[in-house]
Symmetry: C2
Subunit: 253 residues, 2 copies
C-alpha cells in the first residue's frame, strides 16, 4: 500500500489539516486559515490547498463557506444521549433555531401495535403527542410519540409548543435511560405529505425509537419522519472499534 | 418515578428476561425456555409471560418464532467494523445467505462529484463497481462504489461475483481504517427500480459511505440503496454514553 511519502501533495495536506482539526490545533467552530495563509505556510500553489480543503469538506470536517471562510468541525465526539434524543437540543447544537407546532396531545387507549411495543395491555391508557418540528422556521420532521400514561401525563402540565419534551421529562426525573433508534425509509402518507409539504409517496427518512428506563421498561414509542433534504444521520466507525453517531442538517450544496 | 416493585408483573418479567439475555445466561442464538417452562419457574399464568416475551421481541432481544421458539439476541455488542462495512459478512452474521450479481467493474475518469469526495483531480482514473446484492437470493440492495485507482485496480484480479470485496482488499493489506456512513432516504430512479424490482419513485434507504485510510486519505466513495423491506439500521445509545450500531434484516412481521 501507499506510504505517506508516495501520496500526492493535496492528500498529504488533507491529512495534516485533518490532524489539526482533530487535535484542536484548529479549534472546532472557528474559521480555518485562509487559502493564501495555507499556501504561504506550506510553500505551495492554490490548487492542492483547495483540493485538500474540498476533501475535508466532503468528510464533514469543514462546514460553512460560500464566501465566508470554512469552519472546523471535529468529527470525533459522538452526539450525547440528550442531543441525539431531543430535536430542540440537536437543532441548537448545530446552530439552528428549533421550532414546533403541536398538532395533538391526547390521552387514549393504546393501539394494538403500540401496546405490544410498550409492553402494555390493549386497554391501558397512553398519551400520544404529534408535532411538526421546524428548523429555522421550515418544516423538517413529523414526530409521533406514544408515551406510557405515567410519563405522558406530565405533558398535560407542559406546553409542548414551548420546547423540548425530553428536557421537561428529565427535569421531572423520568428515567429516560436507553433509546433504540431503527432507521429506514418510508413513502409519505397523505398526512405526512400535507404537513411536510411534499407529494404523497415522496421518500421520508423514518426513525422509530423505543425509549426505555434503566430496567428496560418501555416509556416511549416514537415514529419520526424527516424530510431527507433537512436531516441525515451518520455513523462513523473505525477498525479499532470506535463508533461515533450524529444527526446533521443536510448540506445545502 | 416508578420503582421496580411498583411495576406490573409482565414488566418485571421482561426486565429479568432482558438481564438473562444480556448476561448470556440465555445464550445468544439459542432458543429461550418455552412459555410453559417460564410459567412454572415464575409461578405465573401465561398472559404476563407472553407480554414480557412480546416486549423483548419488540426491543429486538428475541428474534424468529412463528411456531418455533424465539431465539435470544444480545443487543449489547456493536457490529464490528468489517461486519458493518461488508454486506457478505453482515449477511452471514445474521444467518442469511449473501449473494451478488456484478453489473459493472469499470476503470474510468472520476466524475466531478466523486473527484471532490475522493480528493482527486477530475482527470484521475478511478474504478467503479456496481453490484446488486441479494439476501437468500432476493434483491436487497444496489451498491455503487468508486475506488481510487490504486485500490480499485485490485478488483481486476478478483471476481466480485464470488464474495466480499472488502475481505479481498483487507487480505491485500489495503488500509481500510475508517468509514463515515451518511444515512438518508431517496426515491428510486429508473435503474434502481428495475434492478430492485420496485416502482420508480419508491422510497429507498440510502447509505453513502466514505472509507478512508488511517491517515484520512479517501479510498472509496459508495452509494448503497436498500429496499426498506429488507434491511434497517439501528443506533442504540444510553444516558451513560454507550453507543451500539447495527444493521438488521427487516423483521418479517
Amino acid at each position: 500500500m501507499k506510504t505517506s511519502e508516495d501520496l500526492p501533495l493535496h492528500q498529504r495536506l488533507g491529512a495534516e489539516f485533518q490532524r489539526r482539526i482533530e487535535s484542536g490545533e484548529w479549534p472546532e467552530g472557528e474559521p480555518v486559515p485562509s487559502e493564501s495563509q495555507l499556501c504561504a505556510e506550506f510553500g505551495t500553489s492554490r490548487g492542492p490547498v483547495r483540493q485538500a480543503l474540498a476533501m475535508l469538506r466532503s468528510a464533514g470536517s469543514l462546514v460553512g463557506g460560500r464566501g465566508k471562510p470554512p469552519v472546523a468541525r471535529r468529527t470525533t465526539p459522538s452526539q450525547p444521549f440528550d442531543t441525539f434524543l431531543s430535536f430542540t437540543q440537536w437543532a441548537r447544537s448545530i446552530g439552528r433555531e428549533p421550532g414546533q407546532h403541536t398538532l395533538e396531545v391526547a390521552r387514549r387507549r393504546a393501539s394494538p401495535e403500540a401496546a405490544v411495543r410498550l409492553g402494555l395491555a390493549q386497554d391501558e391508557p397512553v398519551v400520544e403527542l404529534v408535532r411538526l418540528r421546524l428548523l429555522d422556521g421550515v418544516p423538517a420532521m413529523l414526530e409521533r410519540s406514544t408515551f406510557v400514561h405515567e410519563v405522558g401525563r406530565i405533558l398535560f402540565d407542559f406546553d409542548p409548543d414551548t420546547g423540548s419534551v425530553y428536557q421537561e421529562l428529565l427535569r421531572r426525573e423520568v428515567d429516560l435511560h436507553h433509546a433504540r433508534h431503527t432507521i429506514d425509509a418510508v413513502a409519505a402518507g397523505p398526512r405526512d405529505a400535507e404537513l411536510l409539504r411534499v407529494d404523497a409517496g415522496a421518500p421520508l427518512l423514518r426513525v422509530r425509537r423505543l425509549t426505555t428506563s434503566r430496567l428496560g421498561v418501555p416509556l416511549e414509542d416514537a415514529d419520526d419522519r424527516y424530510l431527507p433534504a433537512m436531516a441525515t444521520f451518520t455513523i462513523e466507525n473505525t477498525i479499532e472499534g470506535r463508533t461515533v453517531i450524529g444527526r446533521y442538517r443536510t448540506e445545502e450544496d
